[in-house]
Amino acid sequence: MQAPADIAPPVVAGHQPRRRRTHRSLAPLLAGPGVLFVVVFLLLPLGLMLRYSLNRFVPGELMEVALTAGNYVRFLHDPFYQSVLWTTLWISAVSTATCAIAGFPVAFYLARTAGPRLKPVLMMAVVLPLLMGNSVRTAAWMVLLGSHGVIAGIVGWIVPGVRIELMYTPAAVVIGLVSVLLPFMIITVQSTLENADRSVEEAAASLGAPPYRVLFRIVLPLCLPGLLAGIVLCFVLAMNAYATPVLLGGPQMHMMAPTVYEQIAKAMNWPFGAALAFILMAVTLVLTVASNVLVQRRFRKWTG
């Protein structure tokens, strides 16, 4: 599972230590092993993969050392990989938009309506599924969406004689992704609403604004930073999803993360697979950083 970096409690600085000199010499020793571990097993491999993405693939013998942008050019020009990127982008966009629209009422309900007894229970109901694992949650959707599943059963009961096939369609992938990503959206928006000043809403309402106007003119602008952070988080996680497109989309559905796996582990085309992985990561990081900057710059004056 990809965990949300944006909504975690920030690691803030402690107090200034009194005896700085002895501490300073100790700190690298303390942090060293952990940092070394991440550098050796994550950052150096990423560097190696970046280098390999500039190599040339030779069928039969892994690759040939080169310094070429050919793999990236191939990705941008090959119609098949263009369609993979396009499918990934639109599926992610539709899933994210659905999460934003469906998640907002729940976030508002948790932040404003749910009573003190109900709220912790509902919060757990939102958080727990996040940590149950995507393979289990996708298995559940396969049961629900299958030809004998609950959804087909309900549709057949309402409209007798109609048999719908949802499995292995883009709709199934979107449904699965929305279910996996909704908790991220709900938690992000809910925490912004929790911090927003309620008296502004109350003032608007007492001055005669109807509820829909309070919603669109006061509540939505106030929780825009959280909504934006949630949208970026969901989009990034949707783009990197593996289990949902593979299991619910079937073999005809090609998205970025499964394609990276196929190229590197199955086709053993490391240079091209590495280029794919870096394109995926570049989009992810650019979006994450851009949203962080945007949220911090644009909305600081609003959120205090």
């Binding site: 599972m1 965990a3 970096a5 409690p9 690691v11 402690g14 230590p17 501490h23 700190a27 690298p28 303390l30 942090a31 092993p33 952990g34 940092v35 991440v38 097993f41 994550l42 190696l48 993969m49 390999y52 469906a102 998640g103 009422p105 729940v106 508002f108 309900y109 757990m124 958080v127 727990l128 996040l130 940590l131 149950m132 694992g133 393979s135 289990v136 996708t138 298995a139 559940a140 959707w141 396969m142 049961v143 629900l144 299958g146 004998h148 599943g149 059963g153 279910s179 909704l182 509820p211 990197n240 593996y242 299991l247 993360a257 990276v260 796996y261 582990a265 490391w270 992985a277 992810t284």
Partner: protein, 272 residues
């Protein structure tokens, strides 16, 4: 919108939609636990009867039994390893001012920021390149999985332990040192007991994120070395019967217990 306000059609609609969305998130998990007890082999609603047989069947399957035991083993070792690496690093971040502290905490949180499939691919390539150079195989053995899962657990450990350390009253530690305790003794006798709930939560959360990992493990599993989520994935490509629901139910139950314990140690909703 409490008792004072009249319950309007709009507020009913709003409540209904909120509950509907919640059902969409939780419902699938409830359904898969329910299906695990269905008597018929082809999943159809409603079931013709109920049985516990699928759990026996799941345990008799080599892929699921060995996958479960491997995931358990890897999760336990990885969470302990991440604690050993993470506690000192958290102390450095929360107790020491030094140049590059920001960079260090960024590096330690990097495994969460880099997409799992990208980090997994990079580690796989690096381990195979290492194997080509030295002849030592790591990918496809339990060691590759242990490395990957420790990597997954480190950010969670650092985040939780740092947060606990920042809440400890510093003056008690300083009093211990002023009264003659060495920094190590002060840490062991004063700080460690104070952050114990954070450590418990860190171990449990690390175990959970290791147990459910899919993307990184995907590259590193090998013949006879398959974690439970990958075994589920492989099975689902060709089959769909209550066996998989039974396996899913076991995973859900195990994680629920771990999270319940973590929630008792520190409020779980605070972690996110």
């Amino acid at each position: 919108m409490d008792g004072v306000t009249a319950v309007t059609f709009q507020s009913l609609l709003y409540r209904f939609s909120a509950w509907l969305v919640l059902a969409f998130v939780v419902g699938p998990l409830v359904v898969i636990v329910w299906v695990a007890f269905f008597a018929n082999a082809i999943i159809a609603f409603p079931p013709s009867g109920y049985t516990l047989g699928w759990f026996v069947r799941a345990w008799q399957s080599d892929a699921f039994r060995e996958g479960f035991l491997l995931s358990l083993k890897v999760g336990i070792v990885a969470s302990i390893a991440s604690l050993l690496l993470g506690i000192p690093a958290s102390v450095a971040i929360s107790r020491h001012a030094f140049p590059g502290r920001e960079a260090i905490s960024t590096i330690l949180l990097a495994p969460i920021v880099v997409p799992g499939i990208v980090g997994g691919a990079a580690l796989y390539i690096a381990l195979l390149a290492f194997e080509l150079a030295t002849g030592i195989q790591i990918a496809g053995t339990i060691w590759g999985l242990l490395v990957a899962h420790t990597l997954i657990a480190i950010p969670w450990t650092v985040r939780l332990v740092t947060a606990s350390l920042l809440r400890v009253n510093r003056s008690i530690e300083e009093a211990a040192v002023n009264l003659g305790a060495t920094p190590l003794v002060a840490f062991r006798r004063v700080t460690l007991p104070a952050i114990r709930p954070g450590l418990v939560a860190a171990v449990l959360l690390s175990f959970v994120v290791s147990f459910i990992d899919l993307e990184k493990s995907l590259f590193l599993v090998g013949p006879g070395q398959t974690t439970l989520p990958i075994a589920i994935l492989n099975y689902l490509e060709w089959n769909l019967d209550p066996t998989i629901a039974a396996v899913a139910t076991v995973q859900i139950g195990l994680i629920a217990v771990a999270l319940w314990l973590a929630d008792r140690a520190v409020g779980l909703t605070r972690i996110f």
